[in-house]
């Protein structure tokens, strides 16, 4: 699989607020932008990939909207990590010759759409979780709060250290004209903002925005056909050990330990080879856990690792260079945005937030409540 497929086009749409747009329309607009980025049209697509929390048979819905009759369709729903996970079946289908041009898309109107509370009640009725719902955890924040609290208890991690993660994300967002939250943010402001589920305040939690993203992926041999440099898949792996937080074996260790190890092994790389990291930061605790579990620092040392601006602009390890889910965009599922930013960094298109000479990018997706963990490594042609 290493080096066999490459992302030829990426696009975003509706990020921030897109009032009056449906979920599918935002996904289609992002698809249009990704296709244009690759110099292609929807007529060229023969593989369709999407994930949605709301749309039943979402693969059929996207193909219908775009007027495509795909030879390959994938709509695995693993939570926000899905779009990183989709690299694997897309690669398998492309390598098997089932199709030639795969479009992966996502869209959401979580912020401006109506009827969310009612939809939430319907979901609970359809999918009751009788060993958690009766206690009324405010999910997802409460589940992540439980993980943060345990990490603080076991390792002495502090709220101040978690706040540094929010501050770093905001500083990257300030370099990104497309980011939603760009006002200056101090650690003190994070600590003093409204508590949601202890120990996480509203600034420890991701944004609630609209937005969509898409990418086009092909076999690597076609990379020369496209107007911009492709980003090659070097490694990808998926792992999950639980769905509900009450079933997570150890709240301080995620399955990223497994997905990261397998992705690095496929790529023949290690943490020291990574130039830029995009880690699914639905909550500040995520960034900390993934830095530990992917091997960038030892277990328990994530707090010290992020202190002093190490992951902020100007620090030694660029993390979440678009501003992340915490400050750039977060429409319910964030996975596709990890890959769009990774590709832009590898192409040298990231403007003021460009990591100079970035050749290897790591995109790590998280789904559910620290449940689905999916790691991908992308590289420039020189890394093949």
């Amino acid at each position: 699989m290493r080096g066999s497929v490459a992302i030829a086009g990426v696009g975003l749409a509706g990020c921030g607020e897109a009032p009056g747009w449906t979920e599918m329309e935002i996904a289609a607009a992002a698809a249009k932008n990704a296709l244009a980025d690759a110099g292609l049209s929807a007529r060229d697509v023969d593989g369709i990939v999407i994930a949605s929390t709301n749309i039943f048979m979402s693969g059929l819905a996207l193909a219908e909207h775009l007027g495509i009759r795909p030879k390959f369709t994938e709509s695995s729903m693993l939570g926000g990590s899905s779009f990183v996970g989709h690299l694997i079946p897309a690669a398998l289908a492309l390598n098997a010759g089932l199709c030639d041009t795969v479009l992966v898309a996502y869209g959401s109107n979580q912020r401006t759409g109506t009827g969310r509370a009612e939809a939430g009640r319907h979901k609970m009725a359809l999918d009751p979780q009788p060993f958690e719902h009766p206690y009324k955890p405010f999910n997802p924040p409460s589940s992540y709060a439980l993980a943060a609290a345990r990490h603080m208890h076991q390792y002495g991690t502090t709220r101040e250290q978690l706040a540094e993660i929010a501050v770093a994300a905001r500083r990257w967002a300030q370099l990104n004209p497309e980011a939603f939250a760009r006002e200056p943010l101090t650690a003190d402001e994070v600590l003093k903002s409204r508590m949601i589920s202890d120990p996480l305040t509203v600034r420890d939690c991701c944004l609630v925005t609209d937005g969509g993203g898409a990418y086009v992926i092909t076999r690597a041999g076609r990379a020369g056909d496209f107007p911009k440099p492709s980003a090659y898949l070097l490694g990808a792996a998926s792992a999950h050990w639980h769905r509900q937080i009450s079933s997570m074996p150890d709240l301080t260790v995620t399955a990223a330990t497994e997905s990261g190890a397998r992705a690095f092994a496929m790529a023949g790389l290690g943490p020291r080879d990574v130039d830029v990291l995009e880690l699914y930061d639905a909550f500040t605790i995520n960034t900390l856990l993934f830095l530990e579990d992917l091997g960038f620092c030892a277990k328990g040392e994530g707090g010290a690792f992020v202190a002093g601006g190490r992951i902020a602009p100007g620090g030694s390890l660029p993390v979440n260079t678009n501003g992340g889910g915490l400050s750039c965009v977060h429409p319910g599922m964030y996975g596709i945005f990890l890959l769009v930013e990774a590709v832009r960094q590898l192409r040298g298109e990231a403007g003021a937030r460009q990591v100079k000479g970035a050749q290897v990018a790591l995109a790590h997706g998280n789904g559910g409540v620290l449940s689905s963990q999916i790691t991908a490594l992308l590289g420039t042609k020189d890394t093949l």
Binding site: P130, F131, E132, P134, Y135, K136, P137, F138, S142, A145, L146, A147, A149, R150, H153, R194, M195, I196, S197, D198, P199, Q244, I245, S246, S247, L251
Partner: protein, 119 residues
Amino acid sequence: MSPPSGPEQQYFERLAAGRFEIQRCAACARHVFYPRVLCPHCGGDQLDWVPASGRGTVYSTTVVRRKPADGGDYNVCLVDLAEGVRMMSRVAGLPPAEVKIGMAVNARIAEGLVEFTPA
């Protein structure tokens, strides 16, 4: 002969009758929670109901913030039972922020649910 209902319903029937019981695998002797069809540890398919001691330790805890008009803040926690399984619950009888990791707690049944009080 197959049992009259699935393990989830059997659990809640026992709870409604005032009995907090959990499964134990006949093959590997480990306890299981939440109730399941197969033992998640060894894959065994004979799971017997045994009374839970009710003793537990708070593994993690949070306070869900809620406006006073809507009922005010409340506790949600994860409790490790003495039998070696974990469940989500709440600790009653003290302010939600005073529930601490490591606190010893005892189970009781309230409103058809298992909740805990400090031991």
